[in-house]
Amino acid sequence: MSGYFDELSTLLRAGGVPAEQVEATVSDLAAYVAETGADPEEEFGPAGDFAGQLLAARRPEADAADATEWRWTADVFAERQMLARLGDQGWEVDRVDHLGRFVSHRDPERPQRWEYRRELVPPGGAGALVARLAPDGWEPCGTWICFEYFKRPKAASVGPAAQLESPPAAPGRNVFFSRRFYLVLAVLLLALIVPGIILGSSDGDAADFYAGMTVGVCVAVAVLTLMWLWTARRRP
């Protein structure tokens, strides 16, 4: 057996191919070049490259996509900005998972910029929305409660300029919460605490305390929900 096939055997074994399979493959290849009279390196290319091809062919195709998969999340106030920023860095959202995270990937060979839009969808209204946006190249890429997310390659509007030559590395974190989100949390917390303090300082009993707290929370949630829906509708 030539040095070429020795090297190939070593590389395939190192790549996790069982010994008997390595032997069968290499014997087959050796028989092939013996019959054709070709030089193995000319026929199959350098042993390292060829071993890489053979090993890649053994792996399920899903592995390549999984290797670049990245899940991230942002609050409702920050997510459109983050979608725009990460889309510009070549991240394509595939779906929204059950935890509300954006499951995305970036093409390692030909990364391209993506743009996104988020639409507030009434119950049962997603079909009409998808049909309305499709002619402009928008494809649905996820649903979360009352929101439908759409993606479109930026090439649809800017052509080859949408290709990324050297995309930045993936961000070091995968949670993006805005100041506004923390403010809302703080308001909710206050809504819980303040009625308790007020009622606790009066002569009210425990029932009054819990009633006041419940009313405070309900009012705060209602106000915040209305504000949120209003801003969501107002934005394009």
């Binding site: 190249g137 494809e139 090439a155 649809a156 509007s157 052509g159 290709q163």
Partner: protein
């Protein structure tokens, strides 16, 4: 497996299909994808189609023009260039010859 195989076949010929879809006149991404899907090629996603359109544009086989529409942000219309027409004729013939060879071998294997 069947889907993977179709995707693999399409990868080798999608550029020619896109060029062929433009022989009747200019068109934009969504309509090109719809036309190809209507021909039985399955749904071709934007993430697959636009890199091909970009390559064709960079190679000078199609030209593109962005036009603002009355509603929405506008669309990029693609038109076949003379070079694209020649490439389609040459490469299309090669593909048909390849297709014929595949058919011959499959027929020898008992497939009709």
């Amino acid at each position: 497996m069947a889907t993977d195989r179709r995707a693999s076949w399409l990868k080798g010929v999608l550029d020619l299909l896109v060029l062929a879809s433009l022989t009747e006149g200019e068109n934009y991404g969504y309509e090109i994808a719809k036309m190809l899907a209507g021909s039985g090629l399955g749904q071709i996603r934007g993430g697959t189609l636009y890199p091909v359109l970009n390559r064709l544009e960079e190679a000078g086989l199609v030209s593109a023009e962005f036009r603002v529409t009355e509603r929405g942000p506008g669309r990029r219309y693609y038109r076949l260039t003379e070079q694209g027409r020649q490439t389609l004729a040459e490469q299309g013939r090669l593909w048909l010859a390849f297709d014929e060879s595949v058919r011959t071998v499959l027929a020898s294997g008992g497939l009709k």
